[in-house]
């Protein structure tokens, strides 16, 4: 283990660690642009210069590509190193436009930070700047090539890390250009990461340009709820609207990156037609009244039909808190049915995965990178867990064979970013010769009798869930004996349902009354519901989500729910000093927000689904519940949302359902 001294502080690091990383480990940040922990070395920007005072190498060195060695004495503050870094900054700024005020990166720009830190405040170069033509890169990423400082991060990410082939670097010397062969949308499903990874404003998020500055945003650690991988991200909200979503580091789950669906799919959350008001028979009311009405209707229903004709329906969109609380709600009426899934294959598969998986046989996404044999078993990877693909690619590049068994046909525009072999059955794959084999499969599609023997053989499993929080739904289903809704319907006993964030189709609910529905999406079910309760999306909620590997991760509320200020209906402005619109004039809201202080946020009555359930339970005669994570779940309450999450297997004494 090399021991060295950096700025008078002794530090010991693992062999192979670079001087830059060694400095970082003791809290010294050496300025850098091209260095990125997830990418291969480039040594392109020359900014991370340090002075080696003593040891095997001397003088000015690039710390990002210099392995730490015994006896090194490093100074990051030596006048010579400072001078070098200042000159590099000035040189990189030579061609960089002075357009920070109109650049969307301004305020969150590494180049801006280091230019100021390097003391470059006067332009000495008076010549012309190099200019480029920008390209159209699709509806997500905006290209502004003049700002480029040639750090090569984008191309190293796009081609090397993510396996894209349609974006790269052309030219040489002063003509280096980062782009595509011709204008057109970027093809990689990970293209949005260019926005995060570019140290300056060459790539900016087109879906959120010119809306707000970094310091305007409300931020929080959150977890993506598009699939069951559970990537860590941070939404950036401004005036109750999600403007951008950026990746957040979790080495075990998503490294530094997120897929384009996670980043750009904000429609549902910002949807202006999102149901915001509690309703009873279509009439808007307040939450308390709606809950009273629902409780009364449930009582009336039970009087007439009895508890065996009532079903509580949730889904894997609910948070862990929601899943547990729905179980409690159903348990309040002994004979009432509980469902998290409509489809029996999904329900059984999800539940089976929670029974089968243990700390020993489960594979985290990052484990794929070091696997020596990978099987994709009946899984549509790019839809059901796209962020696993870069890890599989990493393994594949080091020689690991990837097999596709019983693969669903890929749409023509989509390709896997790694080479793989097709095999007809699992038996054809030489799993016996591998010592770190991982099988990636889908809970609803892989027969259980195939999975259990695999786990017994020492093969590790990545069982993707049918929904984002499917693992939690599976656990709650086991604890409370949930049944797939298709079976509930087939038994023909159920006459009424209460649905919480359920994805049931209203089409096959003939003869079934929807007593209540709580959701943040518009759905047919919500239209049919007697009582409608609006709930918050995960970005407006604090809660816990469990990904496919049983990793509980906490997400925190990014912003308070309510109608976004942009496009706010004119009626909310009526009391402002602008007054009522003149007769005959259209109701155009004035350009400024209302100046009248209000007690509540317009359209801000939504609450987390579990809280709606808890309040309903209280109205139905239960105890008031302030904290849904009790018993075995208690340790999760104090979980740090930025600590990477923890696997839940250690929380339970045994795998018996009632101890869950």
């Amino acid at each position: 283990m090399p021991k060295l001294i950096i700025d008078n502080l002794p530090v010991e690091v693992a062999p192979g660690t670079t001087v830059l990383e060694a400095a970082r480990s003791i809290g010294i940040t050496i300025p850098h642009f091209c260095y990125h922990p997830a990418l291969a070395l480039a040594s392109a920007c020359r900014l991370c210069a340090v002075k080696m005072l003593d040891g095997p190498v001397k003088g000015i060195q690039m710390s990002c590509s210099l392995p730490a060695q015994d006896g090194m004495v490093v100074s990051t503050t030596d006048p010579e190193a400072l001078k070098m870094r200042a000159l590099v900054i000035e040189w990189l700024m030579m061609n960089h436009p002075h357009d920070c005020p109109v650049c969307d990166e301004g305020g969150e720009c590494l180049l801006q930070d280091f230019t100021i830190a390097g003391g470059h405040s006067r332009r000495r170069y008076q010549g012309d700047k190099r200019t480029h033509r920008n390209q159209y890169l699709g509806e997500h990423v905006y290209h502004e090539m003049n700002r480029c400082i040639q750090c090569y991060r984008c191309v190293r990410f796009y081609q090397d890390y993510a396996g894209g082939t349609d974006f790269g670097v052309t030219g040489s010397a002063g003509r280096v250009y980062f782009g595509r062969f011709e204008d057109g949308p970027l093809e990689s499903p990970f293209s949005g990461n260019l926005v995060d990874i570019c140290p300056t404003g060459v790539f900016t998020d087109k879906t959120g340009r010119y809306r707000a500055r970094y310091w305007d945003y409300q931020f929080s650690p959150s977890i993506c709820q598009h699939c069951s991988v559970g990537c860590n991200l941070a939404p950036q909200a401004f005036q109750r609207e999600v403007i951008k979503i950026v990746g957040r580091r979790n080495d075990q789950v998503n490294s530094w990156f997120i897929c384009d669906r996670a980043r750009f799919d904000k429609k549902g959350i910002n949807d202006p037609s999102r149901p915001r008001e509690p309703k009873v028979d279509g009439e808007a009311t307040d939450y308390e009244t709606a809950l009273d009405a629902l409780a009364a209707r449930i009582y009336d229903f039970l009087e007439v039909h009895g508890p065996e004709s009532l079903a509580f329906v949730g889904s894997s969109r609910l948070s862990l808190e929601g899943c547990l609380m729905l179980g409690e709600l159903a348990a309040n009426f002994e004979a009432a049915a509980l469902s998290f899934y409509g489809d029996p294959a999904e329900a059984k598969g999800s539940q089976f995965a929670t029974e089968l998986l243990t700390e020993q046989n489960v594979a985290a996404p990052a484990d794929l990178a070091s696997a020596d044999c990978i099987v994709l078993l009946s899984v549509d990877l790019m839809n059901e867990g796209p962020m696993l693909a870069p890890f599989i690619r990493k393994a594949s590049l080091t020689g690991t064979k990837v097999y596709r068994v019983d693969a669903p046909a890929l749409p023509s525009e989509q390709r896997l970013p790694f080479d793989c072999l097709d095999a007809a059955t699992l038996a054809e794959v030489p799993l016996e010769t591998a010592s770190r084999a991982i099988v990636v499969c889908h809970a609803a599609r892989t027969p259980h009798e195939e999975l259990a023997p695999l786990a017994a053989k020492g093969v590790r499993l990545a069982v993707l869930q049918p929904g984002p929080n499917g693992f939690a739904a599976g656990l709650a289903a086991r604890k409370h004996g949930a049944v797939p809704f298709a079976e509930v319907l087939a038994a023909k006993k159920v006459r009424g349902i209460v649905a919480f964030e359920s994805d049931l189709s209203a089409a096959n609910l003939k003869g079934v009354t929807v007593l209540g529905c709580a959701d943040w999406r518009t759905s047919e079910l919500a239209q049919k519901a007697g009582v409608f309760l609006p709930t918050t999306t995960w970005m407006e909620s604090t809660g816990t989500s469990i990904n496919f590997e049983g990793r509980a991760q906490r997400f925190e509320r990014t912003f308070r729910p309510g109608l976004p200020l942009r496009g706010l209906d004119a009626k909310y402005y009526a009391q402002s000093r602008y007054g009522e619109p003149a007769p005959g004039q259209p109701e155009v809201p004035p350009p400024q927000p209302p100046r009248i202080p209000r007690g509540e946020i317009p359209g801000g009555q939504e609450i987390e689904a579990w809280k709606a359930m808890a309040r309903l339970l209280e109205k139905l005669g239960g105890e008031p519940i302030v904290e849904p994570l009790t018993g075995s779940w208690r340790p999760l309450r104090e979980m740090d949302p930025e600590a990477g999450g923890e696997r839940i297997f250690g929380l339970f004494k045994s795998s018996e359902p009632d101890t869950l």
Binding site: T165, D166, G168, V169, T170, G171, S172, R175, F181
Partner: protein
């Protein structure tokens, strides 16, 4: 469209290579010889033969200064503008060439005979200033020697364009 025979020979070259990228320069040079310059169509064909994307071929094509992505004249004139030739006074030679040919850097003469481009070092720094016309290098140049060189090349000009003959 390239002749079937050329396609076969290129595919054979790729089959022998350790990796597709290793054969890329040879493939691009052959296609350039066929078309006169590396056309967009040729980039597409190279991509297909090499199993790369068009962008990945473009990355290589634009890196090398003897692969031409725009139409060029019969013979290429490369003039070294690196430090040794600059010390030896290449600028005077460049001005002379521009005046004689009636073109700016990057331009092609009206008769389509010559295209003038700068290059960065031909590895003979002791002999500067120097230029190459086609595959011939002319060194220790003075304006008079430049005129002679152009004359020689003009006379042999109608023969097969030899900058392409490097393939």
């Amino acid at each position: 469209m390239i002749p079937e025979q050329l396609r076969k020979s290129l595919e054979a070259r790729v089959a022998h290579a350790f990796s597709a990228r290793e054969a890329a320069v040879d493939v691009m040079k052959d296609l350039q010889f066929h078309y006169g310059w590396l056309t967009d169509e040729a980039v597409g064909e190279a991509a297909e033969i090499l199993g790369l994307s068009r962008l990945q071929v473009e990355e290589l094509a634009t890196f090398y200064e003897m692969i031409y992505r725009r139409p060029v004249g019969n013979k290429m004139i490369h003039i070294c503008d690196s430090i040794s030739c600059w010390n030896a006074g290449y600028e005077k030679i460049l001005d002379h060439l521009k005046a004689r040919l009636g073109v700016e850097v990057g331009g092609t003469t009206a008769d389509g005979q010559f295209t003038l481009v700068p290059c960065c070092c031909m590895g003979r720094c002791g002999d500067g200033p120097l230029i190459s016309i086609g595959s011939t290098i002319y060194d220790h140049l003075t304006p008079e020697l430049v005129d002679q060189a152009l004359e020689i090349e003009r006379l042999s000009g109608t023969a097969a364009p030899d900058h392409k003959g490097q393939a």
